[in-house]
């Protein structure tokens, strides 16, 4: 019987799939995040018509950098070098829990958006579109989280 576990040392950060250690991965992720955040900041500064353009650029780039750098890490990391990362997540029970939660959340989204559209049409309520979309997004994320926890508790 062969032991299929990776023999290379693993860490919380992991290594880049293109070679190099953890430090290389962190730097590459930050650079990738910085590039994407700068592009978003530039777009925001270019499209906006109020306030100082550099300030708009700086704020958006600074606020989005943690997210874009994290996404860079997700794209660049070699999964097999990350501590406690399973080799086949798609075959794990957590994947089933997520799939079940996502199915339920999708149905809920149809219902919530459908009812919301009807209510807003008949009642002629006017709200900022951005605010409504954020509210729906937060609601669906909460729904997904609760459904995932329920699926986990039922399986435990």
């Amino acid at each position: 019987m062969t032991d299929t576990r990776a023999s290379a040392p693993r860490s919380s950060i992991g290594r880049s799939r293109f070679g190099g250690g953890g430090a290389t991965l962190i730097i590459a992720s930050l650079l990738l995040g910085l590039a994407v955040s700068s592009a978003m900041g530039g777009l925001y500064a270019w499209l906006g018509d109020t306030g100082d353009a550099w300030l708009r650029f700086s704020i958006l780039a600074f606020v989005t950098l943690p997210v874009t750098a994290s996404l860079g890490w997700v794209l660049l990391v070699d999964r097999s070098s990350v501590k406690d990362a399973v080799e086949r997540p798609e075959d794990s029970v957590e994947s089933r829990w997520f799939a079940k939660a996502a199915e339920g959340t999708m149905i809920d989204a149809f219902v919530v958006i459908g009812i919301g559209a009807a209510v807003f049409s008949f009642a002629e309520i006017e709200l900022p579109v951005g605010l409504v979309l954020v509210a729906i997004d937060v609601l669906l994320l909460l729904d997904l989280g609760i459904r995932y926890l329920v699926a986990k508790l039922r399986s435990a």
Binding site: R88, S92, S155
Partner: protein, 65 residues
């Protein structure tokens, strides 16, 4: 689906984590399979059979059988 995983695993002296590592899945997956609350995918079932050196039907029995 009933299964003989706990007995087979105990016979090898393996922990749930060791079996999970062999299968490439999480420990919670092994726990859920052993409790009969998660039916594994066909690839995992084949890997289980390979790990224990038996056939899939030696490991799993349908509830209505």
């Amino acid at each position: 689906m009933r299964n003989a995983l706990p007995e087979r695993r105990a016979a090898l002296g393996w922990s749930q984590q060791r079996l999970a590592d062999e299968l490439g899945v999480s420990r919670q997956t092994v726990i859920s399979i052993e409790k009969g609350r998660f039916d594994p995918s066909l690839p995992v079932a084949f890997r289980l059979a390979a790990v224990f050196g038996c056939r899939i039907e030696d490991l799993f029995t349908p509830d209505d059988a």
